[in-house]
């Protein structure tokens, strides 16, 4: 403290002078940065509206501040005519067929003005000339002829593009006028139709899921029956296979009949044995086909079971899906009726 009191004058002097230097330096830098002392060239700018404009709205060209919009007024033809002051070092950038893009930032409601340079890079625009914004007919023509290209704040550009799209699609000379709304109406109709279908399906599913007067559930019964059929089919194909094997043995035995009974009944074999042999021979020809059919049935049994299983799973999923759709906010039941 003694040290401070002894040098208090010096400390306080330094404390105040340093603050003074900082503020003087900052103000000086700010004035230089804002090009207050730089020569400016006056142009006129024409906008469709004054939204976001202020008395010192900066104008940028490729990220550089090339000038400011100062005073602005409403003209007789309901456009905004503003003074556009361009700094000396950027004077040459102001060429013919250039335009301005004013985009209002939806977050801050401040506007950013972008200078869109025309194609004639060396044809300087005379001082005092008018530069149109692209939201007025003159600017729209430049844009349509691709003489200037739009750039700017990403969010504002998206909104501007959406606005332009909406405006263009609703123009009287546009054959697609109202297409967007028609699509919306169609979508609404489709949604309504889908709601009806899902409602009906839901009712059907509910009725299927409900037990009948005997306490049986049709859906469950169907699945059980299908399983029983599958099982019976498997047993049946097994039996068919077994019978076919026996038949094969019999046919083999009867194709060469050498027994006593055969000799007694039909010694030359032409009355009984031959016709039987022929029949059995024909039957023998059919056997491979029967065998193949049997094999086919055996192989298809697995497929059939899988299909039945898949059918059961699909029906479960369908039930869940319809439940979800039914509870969904778009076309489902009212909130009060949804399942908790």
């Amino acid at each position: 403290m003694k040290f401070k009191l002894r040098y208090s004058e010096k400390i306080v002097g330094t404390f105040l002078i340093a603050a003074l230097i900082i503020i003087a330096a900052s103000t000086g830098y700010l004035l230089l940065h804002n090009k207050v002392f730089e020569k400016k060239f006056l142009f006129k700018a024409k906008f469709g509206d004054a939204v976001g404009l202020s008395s010192s709205t900066p104008v940028y060209f490729r990220g550089f501040k090339i000038g400011v919009i100062t005073d602005y007024e409403l003209t007789e033809d309901n456009y905004i005519l503003a003074d556009f002051k361009v700094y000396e070092e950027f004077r040459k950038k102001i060429v013919k067929k250039s335009a301005l893009l004013k985009s209002v930032n939806p977050v801050t409601s401040t506007s950013t003005i972008e200078f869109l340079q025309g194609p004639e890079n060396f044809s300087e625009l005379a001082e005092g000339s008018m530069i149109p914004a692209i939201d007025i007919p003159e600017g729209e023509i430049l844009l349509a002829k691709n003489m200037v290209k739009k750039t700017g704040d990403p969010l504002s550009t998206v909104i501007y593009n959406l606005a332009a799209f909406s405006e263009n699609i609703n123009k009287d000379n546009n054959v697609d006028k109202g297409a967007f709304f028609r699509a919306l109406v169609n979508m609404a109709d489709a949604a309504e139709g889908m709601k009806k279908i899902t409602d009906n399906l839901n009712i059907d599913i509910e009725s299927i899921s409900k037990p009948d007067k005997y306490g049986r559930r049709p859906m469950a019964s169907l699945v059980v029956n299908a399983a029983q059929i599958s099982d019976s089919l498997r047993v049946m194909t097994g039996l068919v296979n077994h019978s076919l094997m026996r038949l094969d043995t019999v046919i083999t035995a009867y194709s060469q009949p050498e027994g006593l009974v055969a000799k007694m009944i039909d010694p030359d074999g032409k009355q009984i044995i031959e016709p039987i042999r022929k029949t059995i021979s024909n039957l023998n020809d059919v056997l491979p086909k029967l065998e193949k059919f049997s094999e086919f049935l055996v192989t298809q049994q697995g497929q059939f079971v899988i299909i039945l299983k898949q059918l059961v799973e699909t029906l479960d999923e369908v039930q869940v899906t319809f439940e979800t759709i039914n509870n969904g906010p778009l076309i489902g039941k009212p909130k009060s009726e949804r399942k908790k």
Partner: protein, 262 residues
Amino acid sequence: MQQISFALGRQTLLLYRKSISVFSFVLEIIYELKNFFLQRKITRLILIRQILFTGFEALGLIAFVAVAVGGIIILEGSAILPGFGQSKLLYTILVTVILRELGGLLTAFIIIARSGTAIAAELGNMVVNQEVESLVSFGISPILYLVVPRVLGVVLSMIALNIYFNIAALAGGWFMAYLFAPIPIPDFLYKLFSEISVSDITSSFIKSLFFGFIIAVVSSYQGLQVNFASTEVPQRTIKAVVLSLSWVIIVDILITAIMYLV
């Protein structure tokens, strides 16, 4: 009904008398400022010590708070703004919050807490110890000798501290921005100064001028309002703090509104 109207009338008269008292106190300070510069040798030491105490000794605390606030603004802004493509607003927010509002307000709050209370307590104790009466008996104006140097000291300290606060907060902001995405100081300054306008600096200066004046006047007035008992001192100190805070916020709103209207 009669009692209510009586109470209302009494309060109105009391408020009127207080307003007159404060107004004449402020006018006397302004009048004595001229004499202060004429007789500056007598009160220069008080002024220097006041600046030393209110300004220089508070520099560390001010710098700490400022760096933290600047860093927090960048930290919060970096987390939120890029989400909707508005990273460039970081500098606008930094300038708006620090230069226009928080710089002046936080500096004022710190000065109220440190110096406002000290001035009120010191002057209150001087009244209790009859030091103020002694000055009057010697023909020395207590306003000229005690109040004017304090008012000048607090105003100058407030202005200087506000400048340091702004610089420290912007430095804190740069430091935090550098941690997220290394950005050279010239680039940072270029973007920052693109957002600063002369009106921001003017607004900041005017606010610190008024805040300093309010804090010093309210604290001195409350200190001198102590009558005899030492128990009055803390009461008046609390009142000085509450009134200073209230008036600083009211004046801040008024200046901000005027700056936006202009």
